[in-house]
């Protein structure tokens, strides 16, 4: 329990996503982060589109073994040097930082090689295919002294950070449950030009490459949960199967996983990709109210009454001269079941991807690792893999102490 308590202190600290202090930013003004991107597939192209909007980013190299994707990447950055061997890109002295946006099973090898080459790294999530690989990557990254970020962008999203900061400070009361889900209705397939590319293009569906829903989706939401709890779960159980998309895929298309923290609080993750009704949801359930991280809204357990003046204001904004009915004997508080909640950060937009990329570019210039970010992402990946193992083994698994890091 002593170790768990210590971990709680560490995890509850808000990761610092600013890679540059203001004085250091001033010192590097005018500098550019020279980026090489490995894997300009769908996610890689998304990163490239964001990089086009970042003033201190310069994409100098692109690498892919799949020519159509390499060409799409070059359309976005025609001046980038094309590679088909990532090791050659890592030897390129003009590259300061490397973005790895390849299938999960490639992350470990490529990231370790990038660390050895002295590059700053932004590696897509999940961190790696196995927990041992994650641990090795984490330790190597820390020892290497270069910037190392995992592409879990939510921790860079201002509204997530503000909401989770309030949760960690206890402003909504103690956390009593973490409820997350991700429901979709599509086969998660990408078109392939010919059958021999099937496993390379649709790598998310095959166990050789990926753990499917858990490593591609759950790791985001599990990271938020441990952030909110300020602790790590001590055990995990779950059930998964292929219930609908029986098209030769090997990863589950339906999962339900429960992580239990030392204080008994549960964190659930559910996903089905054959019905989208519930969509994506990330809820931190506290004693005094519920935080919807995705929408950036807080729902108090006892919501404030929607006042007549608010209603009147809305009508004025629509140009309506109304006759609101609110006159009565003195107001008394009431509990409403249906409430739109309270916006935590109305001005925030996006999902943190742009902020993450900006932080990486800044970090490539300053050489300063954003504090706490890697550890949070590491645990998010470890838990996603542990959940998958619990379902594969059909067992309740305890959190292995060997994967706890300082």
């Amino acid at each position: 329990m002593g170790e768990l308590g210590a971990a709680g202190v560490v995890l509850s600290a808000l990761p610092i996503v600013e890679a540059c202090s203001s004085d250091k930013k001033a010192a590097v003004t005018g500098d550019k982060a020279r980026i090489g991107l490995i894997g300009p597939g769908s996610r890689g192209q998304y990163h490239l589109a964001n990089l086009q909007q970042i003033a201190n980013a310069e994409v100098v190299a692109l690498c892919d073994i799949y020519q159509p994707n390499l060409e799409k990447g070059l359309e976005l950055f025609p001046g980038a040097k094309p590679y088909t061997d990532y090791r050659a890109l890592l030897e390129d002295k003009d590259v300061d930082g490397v973005i790895i946006a390849t299938p999960l099973n490639e992350h470990y090898r490529m990231a370790m090689d990038a660390i050895s080459a002295g590059k700053h790294v932004l590696c897509e999530k999940a961190m790696a295919y196995t927990m041992d690989e994650c641990l090795d990557m984490y330790r190597s990254a820390v020892a290497g002294g270069r910037v190392f970020i995992i592409g879990q962008q939510r921790i860079f999203d201002p509204k997530y950070r503000k909401a989770l900061d309030s949760v960690c400070k206890g402003e909504y009361g103690p956390v009593v449950n973490v409820r997350t889900h991700w429901f979709r209705n599509n086969d998660w397939r990408r078109p392939v030009p010919s059958p021999e590319y099937e496993r390379h293009v649709n790598w998310r569906l095959y166990r050789e490459y990926s753990r499917g829903i858990m490593t591609e989706l759950a790791c985001h939401q599990l990271q938020n949960g441990i952030f909110a709890m300020g602790d790590l779960p001590c055990k995990v159980m779950g059930s998964g199967d292929i219930i609908y998309w029986k098209d030769g895929r090997e990863v589950f298309d339906s999962v339900s996983v429960i992580y239990t923290f030392p204080n008994g609080v549960n964190m659930t993750f559910e996903s089905v990709i054959s019905n989208r009704y519930f969509g994506m949801g990330e809820y931190i359930v506290c004693r005094d109210g519920t935080v919807d991280l995705l929408k950036g809204r807080y729902y108090p357990a006892v919501p404030p009454k929607k006042t007549a003046i608010r209603q009147l204001l809305g009508e004025i904004e629509k140009g309506v001269f109304s006759n609101p009915a609110f006159a009565g004997t003195s107001w008394a508080p009431e509990t409403a079941e249906d409430t739109s909640g309270i916006s935590i950060m109305p001005e925030a937009s996006g999902d943190g991807s742009m902020e993450m990329m900006q932080a990486f570019c800044d970090a490539c210039i300053s050489g300063v690792q954003p504090e706490g970010v890697l550890r949070q992402a590491y645990y998010g990946s470890i838990l996603s893999i542990l959940g998958d193992e619990a379902m594969l083994q059909n067992k309740i698994l305890e959190f292995p102490e060997k994967y706890r890091v300082d």
Partner: protein, 244 residues
């Protein structure tokens, strides 16, 4: 005052608007600290618990002067001492030279429940008007409402009663509505019988001053039906509406 104060006013300067709201909040909070008999440190609470003279601030002293004046003008049906178990009237004596007051007997309890919201609304209206705000709607607990000027898309402000559907049209005027609380409790006392007023669901009074509307709605609600019109006749420009 245990109610929500809402301000809606027309002002193109966002910074000024925010500042005015903050000043209004501070103003009302300060008045609440004076009038709230439930706050042990409030002058009202000290006066209620003291057998001697108590020094008062300007607002509270002025309020006590007004309350006694309107007690007389309403034949005693507006009475801030109605909740007490003792009958001496006046219930308090004022000492203008020293700004002090003292209760006139034991068992007296002063309560500004039928006064404070109207008093606060007048203060806020004066604040806004002094800063050049001409149009706005001020709502204190849904039972006391002031309409300054007019609605941006109308010739006045319109507010309907939740029960009975009566529409109040406010243009530099106010209304106050008194009656059973939403929990159904009779909380307004008939000062003459010292029993809960046996009136109907609600009484509203509309007119220029929010304070006078609140005083009159309380008095008329507490008064027997046969006495109501006579009380209202003394106040030109104020009309009473009776809920059914």
């Amino acid at each position: 005052m245990h109610s929500r104060l809402e301000l809606l006013f027309v002002c193109p300067d966002a910074v000024k608007s925010r500042r005015l709201c903050e000043r209004a909040e501070e103003l009302v909070k300060n008045e609440s600290l004076e009038f709230d008999r439930h706050l042990s440190e409030s002058p009202t609470a000290r006066l209620n618990s003291s057998s001697g003279r108590v020094a008062l601030g300007e607002d509270l002293f002025f309020a006590l002067e007004l309350c006694e004046k309107f007690r007389k003008l309403t034949d005693g049906y507006f009475d801030i001492a109605a909740l007490g178990s003792s009958k001496p009237r006046p219930a308090y004596e004022l000492f203008p030279e020293t700004h002090e007051a003292a209760l006139t007997g034991s068992g007296l309890l002063l309560d500004f429940g039928g006064f404070a919201k109207g008093f606060a609304l007048e203060s806020v209206r004066n604040l806004l008007a002094g800063e050049g705000i001409s149009d706005g709607l001020l709502n204190f607990g849904n039972s006391s409402v002031v309409g300054m000027g007019k609605h941006p898309f109308g010739s006045c402000w319109r507010v309907r009663s939740e029960e009975g559907g009566h529409t109040f049209e406010l243009k530099d005027s106010a209304f106050s509505l008194s009656g059973r609380s939403r929990s159904g409790k009779d909380h307004i006392m008939d000062p003459h019988s010292s029993r809960p007023a046996p009136a109907g669901p609600w009484v509203a009074v509309s007119g220029r001053s929010a304070l006078l509307c609140e005083i009159l709605s309380t008095a008329v609600y507490a008064a027997p039906i046969g006495e109501r019109d006579r009380i209202m006749e003394s106040f030109e420009g104020y009309i009473a509406i009776y809920g059914s």
